[in-house]
Amino acid sequence: MFDTKKERREIILFGYGKLGHRVYEMLSPYFSKITVVEQADELIQDAKDHGIVKSFTADFKQDQELIDLGLEGKILFCAMDEMAMNIFLVLSLKSMTKNATIISISTSAENTRKLKFIGADKVIDIYEASANRIVDIITRPAVTRVLDEVIFVDNGISLEEIEIPFHSFLEGKYVHDIDFKAFDLILVGITDREMGDDFIFVSRGIDHKFDAGDILVLLGESHALENFYKKLTGPS
């Protein structure tokens, strides 16, 4: 992930129990601005013992304590061990923010439905995600291996989304005009502003015209992605 993204995203992680602790471990290599908030003093002590300076206690039932954290524009990650608390938290956060992204962990299809209903932007069902992974390992081992290398293994290959800036060399050109292979990249898909905000897979075969604001999803090695990004944001 590009450093700018790493710096730009501000995350508030609610919960530092069994689940929150592991979520923090997975997020911390990618994002530098993570604040941990917990209800239990001993868990915040744990967080401080693990070297997390920005960790605070708050009573989630008191709206003002949550507002004081400065929620607007941030990513609010609810990862409490207790599902009822996650639902309550998402409801509280939704009612007091306008442009924050709320992500919540869920442990069942029923909770996922409730969380989506009250307005969580993204719900991650940990058991369903785990089950999907098991099914993929059995039914599509090679695909799983490749996706693992992209997502889980730190070998420099990643999936990256890049927004086309104004006046870049891509503007006005078509997908077929650009040889992504020459950049050592694979273009997976594109969100074309002209065709609505839906994601379109490149394999669909429609020759899209690139415009500023379109989001490209690219797969490749970090340095190739970075070179492409520099070329894109540099003078055309």
Partner: protein, 531 residues
């Protein structure tokens, strides 16, 4: 003279012991007759049922009609010979005579005692006698008798031919097995009922046997009446005529009803108790012939989703669960379930583990149990794929050591998905769509078949773009003929050579992928035809 016989006998026994052909033949017949797992036994059983049925039909038809000569001939010679041969074969495979001789010879050599013929003969006879006096063997022997038609009463033994069919039907045998578990209760009921019937029949005889009732002429008539009444059959050919007799009838009828209710409840409870066992046997029989089985150990949240998804994709699934309520849930969901403990070797061995199981998925909510399941599975089979779930990091290393191929850590997966979503929401959605196959674009794997148009070609030789496909990666085997472990080449350069058993990971819409796979198959067939 005795020494000479002993010498020949012993050397012949040693010859048999070391003769592979003899052993093979005997093993074959033993499997054919007794081993339910032997694949040809089924055909033998069907053949025997056919022989029995045909013979019974001939014998029954022959009671009033005259059957064709060739049918009589078939029944007299063919069926009888088959039955005799079967009986002798069963007697032969029941025990090894030559082993008894060898054992006696070695014993006599060791203790420097003379070889005892008497001991050998009595030992062999007792072994064979043990078989001959078993109920199935007696039925077999009696079933041979009806062939001798001169004695009419022998025809009664036709029935035994029908009984013989029990041998070839597992479910019928199971029925008797279940009743055997309740033999004390059944015996008590039978005794009580016999006693009561006897008393009742004597009483009716006393009250009505002295001429009051024309139909009761003897004690046998009275017993007949009592049995017909107590069983609630009531033909009505003998009815009581005196008040005392009617009073006894009332008592007999009430007792009979009670006894029948009691008998029914014994049988029902016997089945109730044995039902789980019957189900287990049925499940084991079903999976015995299955290959590529996925064992889902633990039917918790993950286990449920995995089992349902795998089944939807046409994979064979067997759930192993120790908790009765979860077993019931899995059954209701339509899965094959084994109510057993997956940490025990017995459970896995029952499944012919290494031959029939493709993967073991240890997803109980307890990390320690998952470690045990992994150890159990790996110690029994080195090639099976093991996927184990754990929450604690410290357990993860232990699971790897125990032999798990893949670890599933739900909390870690959640964190990782969160990280990807926060960093790349658009890519995340794309990935989710690809993984859950919700939209029609997906990533799939295509193996390069030997002799296909890609075998020996270069990546650049095929225009993936024109086929509406994106080649993401090529997985190459670590060594030739190695199908399990691969290394990955991402975004392979145009000059990458492709060979048989390479796996292409392509992204595309269903139709494009299906078309590409079809083209691969077609080119192999075309090449085969051409050569």
């Amino acid at each position: 003279m005795k020494q000479l016989i002993v010498r020949y006998l012993v050397s012949f026994s040693y010859f048999l012991e070391s003769a592979p052909y003899y052993k093979r033949t005997k093993r074959f017949f033993n499997n054919l007759l007794n081993n339910d797992d032997y694949k040809y036994k089924k055909y033998f059983d069907i053949f025997m049922v056919f022989v029995i049925l045909s013979s019974v039909i001939i014998l029954v038809v022959d009671v009033r009609e005259h059957v064709a000569y060739w049918l009589e001939w078939y029944d007299f010679y063919v069926v009888t010979i088959i039955f005799i041969v079967e009986y002798l074969l069963r007697l032969w495979v029941h025990s090894d005579m030559h082993k008894v001789i060898i054992a006696q010879y070695e014993e006599s050599e060791f203790f420097e005692k003379p070889f005892s013929f008497r001991k050998v003969i009595s030992e062999i006879a007792s072994q064979k006698w043990e078989y001959m006096t078993s109920i199935p063997a007696i039925i077999d022997l009696i079933a041979i008798l009806p062939s001798y038609r001169e004695i009419r009463v022998l025809r009664v033994f036709v029935l035994f031919r029908a009984f013989k069919m029990l041998r070839y039907s597992k479910s019928l045998l199971q029925f008797f097995e279940i009743l055997r578990n309740k033999k004390i209760e059944l015996y008590a009921l039978f005794l009580l009922l016999s006693f009561f019937t006897l008393i009742a029949s004597m009483m009716i005889y006393v009250f009505e046997g002295a001429g009051q009732n024309q139909n009761i002429q003897s004690l046998f008539d009275a017993i007949y009446w009592a049995v017909v009444t107590v069983t609630t059959v009531g033909y009505g050919d003998i009815t009581p005529v005196t008040t005392e007799g009617r009073f006894i009838s009332i008592l007999v009828i009430i007792t009979g009803l009670g006894a029948i209710t009691f008998l029914t409840s014994i049988i029902v409870s016997a089945f109730g108790e044995k039902l789980p066992e019957i189900k287990q046997t049925r499940v084991l029989n079903q999976v015995a012939k299955t290959k590529d089985l996925n064992l889902v150990c633990g039917y918790g949240k993950i286990g449920q989703i995995v089992s349902n998804k795998l089944r939807k994709q046409g994979e064979r699934v067997l759930v192993i669960e120790n908790d009765a309520s979860k077993v019931q849930k899995a059954e209701l969901d339509g899965h094959r379930v084994l109510h057993a403990d997956a940490t025990k070797s017995d459970t896995l061995l029952k499944l012919k583990f290494c031959e029939s199981v493709k993967s073991v998925i240890a997803v109980t909510h307890n990390d320690i149990i998952n470690v045990f399941i992994t150890i159990n599975a790996r110690s029994l089979c080195s090639t099976v794929e093991i996927i184990a779930r754990c929450s604690e990091k410290s357990v993860a290393t232990k699971l790897k050591l125990a032999g798990a191929n893949h670890l599933i850590m739900p909390e870690e997966i959640a964190g990782m998905l969160g990280a990807v979503y926060i960093g790349q929401p658009v890519a995340f959605d794309a990935l989710q769509a690809i993984l859950t196959r919700k939209k029609s674009a997906r990533i799939d794997e295509v193996e390069v078949k030997r002799g296909s148009f890609l075998d020996g070609a270069k990546v650049g030789d095929f225009d993936f773009g024109a086929s509406r496909l994106v080649l993401l990666a090529v997985l190459k085997p670590l060594s030739p003929n190695e199908k399990m472990s691969h290394y990955v080449i991402f975004n392979p350069p145009e000059d990458t050579e492709l060979h048989a058993h390479d796996i292409l990971v392509v992204m595309g819409y269903n139709v494009s992928i299906a078309d590409f796979k079809g083209r691969m198959e077609q080119s192999v067939r075309y090449k085969k035809r051409a050569s």
